[in-house]
């Protein structure tokens, strides 16, 4: 039984063994589904062992979502689809803004709806600390708490392990960490995480995974984290009370080691969760590595399930991520940078606190359709850069306005990518997007060029 078990020494040996040197023949243990998977893509035997061992105890995995795959780009791996969730349909690919503590940084939910947002994030870790599970249960979940009738996705609290690693320690049982609010030691197990997310009632819930920085030099630790994440997924599936209304997503781990990622993909695909996330990225790794991991994983994932790349939010990362076959992204960057006075625009970001914007009476972004940028004649507010400069870092409204613009920018960007995929002109969209963002071709970063070459688009060569 892998549940609650410490890492067995035999597994560790097994994981470290190179493929093909399996000490045991395990094929007789595999389920029919597992058998097909193995037939298509022979996996290292130790991976098969974890999967098959837990197959016996796994309960059936209902899904509370459907994915309508509308189109695939004929050149790249990009996909356009619609994800039907319990609180409405979400067009994919999508960027999901992060309402960490059940509030999107000053925006009313009416303002958030106006950006077109159908799905936003809450952080389990934060909601678990405040207001806490008892309150969530009493109020009737996060939708009722925050008055948001569209979809919510909650992370598991796992990412906070990376960001608060100095304050956290991971054991097979779970994660121990200090409450940042009062310093009280806390323990977060997969069961806790799922139970909390059940109380939150989010439409998509994430498994608790063992996240470590991808830049960690400790390969054995990465290995262990991947393996543990698979075991924790089984515990999450077992603990999940409402699979018929909350969709549990697994999280692919394995650091930057493509072999580990492949093993992890196979393990997790076999568990048949309604959606699949690629985790552990955006922790400071090189962009080339990031792209390789996403590319590898999406290549192994089934077509009919949504793919969520966690913690990614720079516009160029989103666009490349879409080209590599990912559907969903989230990041606090657009909203956080708004609070620092930065506006996201097609040419990059504008630091509107800079003196040069004090008398710049243009809208934040010319021909942007968000309420902040639209003129009064077009039903917008007609806010100028100069006025944001006047407010930013001084009045909270400065942050509200830029947050609205930035979220709108990210959602619109994904909307145009989707439209381009539907019309099968995504490569042209890529050229236009990077042309605007970087200007001259010499400015194009290498990782973008390489990643897109890998999916058949050469930005350096004009068609």
């Amino acid at each position: 039984m892998p549940i609650n078990a410490s890492p067995l020494p035999v597994w560790m040996k097994c994981f470290r063994a190179s493929p093909g040197t399996s000490p045991v023949n395990l094929t007789h243990l595999t389920s029919p589904a597992q058998g097909r998977l193995l037939a298509r893509r022979p996996s290292p035997p130790c991976g098969a062992r974890i999967a098959s061992m837990s197959t016996a105890t796994r309960k059936p995995m209902p899904s509370a979502l459907t994915l309508d795959l509308h189109a695939k780009c004929s050149t790249t791996k990009a996909r356009a689809s619609t994800l039907h969730l319990p609180h409405g349909s979400v067009p994919l690919p999508i960027f999901m803004p992060v309402a960490t503590q059940a509030s999107l940084k000053g925006l009313t939910y009416d303002q958030l709806k106006q950006t077109g947002c159908m799905l936003c994030l809450n952080n389990t870790y934060h909601l678990g600390l405040k207001p806490g599970q008892a309150v969530l249960d009493a109020v009737g979940g996060a939708h009722k708490l925050q008055g948001w009738d569209r979809n919510i996705l909650t992370d598991s609290g796992g990412f906070q392990m990376v960001s608060l690693l100095k304050l956290a320690t991971v054991t097979e049982e779970g994660v121990r960490f200090l409450s940042p609010h009062d310093g009280t030691p806390m323990l977060l197990t997969p069961e806790h995480s799922i139970s909390l997310q059940n109380s939150i009632g989010s439409d998509i819930i994430m498994q608790l995974d063992d996240v470590i920085a991808t830049t960690s030099p400790d390969h054995a630790r990465i290995h262990e984290a991947m393996e543990r994440s698979v075991r924790w997924l089984d515990r999450c599936i077992d603990a999940h009370k409402y699979p018929e209304r909350q969709n549990l997503f697994c999280i692919i781990q394995g650091g930057l080691d493509l072999e580990l990622r492949k093993q992890c993909c196979e393990e997790m695909v076999a568990r048949d969760t309604p959606g699949i996330a690629i985790g552990g990225l955006s922790g400071g790794e090189a962009k080339e590595d990031f792209c390789r991991v996403v590319d590898t994983c999406t290549g192994l994932l089934p077509d009919h399930k949504p793919r969520y790349v966690m913690g990614v939010g720079y516009p160029e990362d989103l666009v490349v991520g879409v080209a590599l076959g990912a559907d969903m992204f989230d990041c606090v960057w657009p909203t956080r940078t708004a609070r620092f006075g930065n506006a996201v625009v097609p040419t990059g970001t504008l630091n509107l606190r800079h003196r040069s914007y004090a008398q710049d009476f243009r809208p934040v972004q010319e021909d942007c359709t968000c309420p902040v940028c639209r003129s009064k004649e077009q039903g917008g507010l007609g806010i100028t850069r100069a006025y944001i400069h006047h407010l930013t870092a001084k009045e909270t409204v400065g942050a509200h306005l830029l947050t609205m613009h930035n979220v709108h920018y990210q959602l619109t960007l994904m909307g145009s990518a989707r439209q381009a995929i539907l019309e099968d002109r995504f490569p042209a969209f890529l050229r236009e997007f990077f042309g605007k963002l970087y200007g001259e071709k010499v400015n194009y970063p290498n990782w973008v060029i390489e990643a897109l070459r890998g999916v058949g688009v050469d930005l350096m060569v004009d068609p």
Partner: protein
């Protein structure tokens, strides 16, 4: 309504219909060409840097009944360099007759825009006023606003109404000599400004279309009689209203000035004070406690006349920081129809406050301004019914006399919102970041080898490190 391009005197631009009266509540209607008319008595929402704090322009437009705004010029005067001699608000390109200030702050076209020299409530400035300037507090420090600069601002920014410059003494009671100076200076400011803006020497097409509200000083009537006489007589054609700085001034207004709208900056502390000011004949009131309450997490909850059934006086507001609201899913107040009450409940606001989320203050501002809108509408109904006096008495019996004391933390206050501190003061706010640094240090000290801080030790080991204690899961 007259078109803005045709030259009109401020009197034609602004009309105020009221039953002239002294020292009694009165109903009126203030109408300015192109703006939503305002039924008085009413309140004028106060702004900081051109917005009602925490309420973005679209929220104000879509979810509040706010139709007017008071703006302090000092919020727009910052660094001026030889290269950029004028503040940005002056420089925004405008159409003919359009107000630069309105455009700069993106205020909807039909909102009434009132500009004064200083924010309300004003922060006391250590430098004192001079015969031709008043001390102001900008986001980058203290400076003097000269009378001619203020006139220039009116000509450039074109607000609907400007509150004239007054030599006010904040923070202490002025002595006899100072009071004399206050009157002389204010008299000179008013004469000079009205002459420059509307005087017969100004070509008719250049005359300002901004209506001038002349200040009445917070002094005994006898002390400023020369000034008041001049307002009644020579300056009367140029002034469209009066700005008052204490409730007592309402009794200082003589009959010839009785038909002018009265804008009051008395900083009422409670709804009771508002009722007192209205009963003395105030038309437009400014109410700093609305934003103060929102910042403190306090929701206003009262109606006029009171419809309470109990005999004990009820609180007029309550503090949402209180843990008694943790799971309270009721609206902020009874059947309130504001955006906040239609969409959210007390438990959420309580959560937002304790999570220090900005949305708490936004939602409270919407509710508290809505409560004030309803309050003033009820006041006007009561005056119209001729039951104001008895309603006030019932209100005083039904509600306690004070608003609750703030307990929780509000938003981080900026320098321009706080009184100046002296030299070598301790820091105003505790550091927000790094509160757990001590724990981290202890922990890293115990970590000698691995660069990744994940000890192999169990909970017992952690306890020994003084880093954590075993929790019961």
């Amino acid at each position: 309504m007259g078109s803005e391009s045709s030259p009109q005197s401020p009197d034609e631009m602004l009309s105020f219909n009221v039953t002239p009266s002294v020292l009694s509540p009165r109903l009126g209607r203030l109408a300015i060409a192109g703006r939503k008319p305002i039924s008085t008595p009413h309140y004028i929402p106060l702004s900081s840097r051109g917005i009602v704090p925490h309420i973005a322009q679209d929220v104000m437009r879509d979810h509040t009944a706010i139709g007017s705004l008071f703006v302090g010029l000092e919020d727009f005067l910052e660094r001026q360099t030889p290269k950029e001699p004028l503040p940005p608000a002056y420089m925004i390109p405008t159409a003919q007759g359009e107000s630069a200030l309105r455009k700069f702050i993106s205020l909807p076209d039909d909102f009434l825009l009132i500009m004064g020299p200083r924010r309300e409530p004003s922060i006391t400035c250590p430098p004192s006023n001079t015969p031709n300037s008043v001390a102001i507090y900008t986001a980058v420090g203290f400076r003097q606003l000269e009378a001619r600069q203020y006139i220039h601002a009116v000509q450039n920014l074109n607000p609907d109404i400007v509150v004239g410059l007054a030599d006010l003494v904040l923070g202490h009671t002025p002595g006899l000599k100072r009071r004399g100076k206050m009157v002389d200076r204010t008299h000179a400011f008013t004469t000079h400004a009205t002459g420059q803006l509307y005087g017969s020497s100004v070509p008719i097409e250049n005359r300002s279309k901004t209506a001038y509200f002349a200040p009445v000083l917070p002094l005994e009537n006898a002390e400023q009689s020369i000034y008041m006489d001049d307002l009644e007589d020579e300056l009367r054609p140029h002034i469209s209203g009066l700005a008052l700085y204490e409730s007592a001034s309402l009794s200082a207004i003589s009959e010839p000035l009785g038909d002018l709208p009265r804008l009051l900056f008395s900083a009422p502390a409670t709804p009771h004070d508002i009722l007192r000011d209205v009963s003395l004949g105030a038309d437009l009131l400014t109410i700093p406690f609305v934003t103060v309450c929102s910042d403190a997490g306090i929701a206003l909850d009262f109606t006029f006349p009171a419809n309470s059934t109990t005999t004990d006086p009820q609180p007029m507001a309550y503090d949402l920081w209180s843990s008694s609201y943790t799971t309270d899913t009721s609206t902020l107040s009874g059947s309130c129809q504001c955006f906040t009450c239609r969409n959210h409940h007390r438990a959420y606001i309580h959560h937002l406050l304790s999570a220090k989320e900005m949305l708490a203050w936004t939602l409270l501002q919407i509710h508290n301004h809505h409560t004030m809108d309803a309050f003033f509408s009820q006041i006007r109904d009561s005056i119209a019914r001729d039951t104001f006096e008895t309603d006030v008495q019932a209100f005083q019996k039904a509600y306690v006399s004070e608003l609750p004391e703030p307990t929780g933390q509000g938003p981080r206050l900026r320098g321009y919102q706080l009184p100046a501190s002296g030299a070598n003061q301790p820091r105003r706010f505790p550091r927000v970041y790094g509160r757990l640094d001590d724990a981290v240090e202890k922990f890293t000290e115990s970590q000698s080898q691995s660069s990744v801080a994940t000890p192999d030790t169990g909970a017992d080991g952690l306890e020994e490190h003084g880093f954590a204690q075993k929790e019961i899961s």
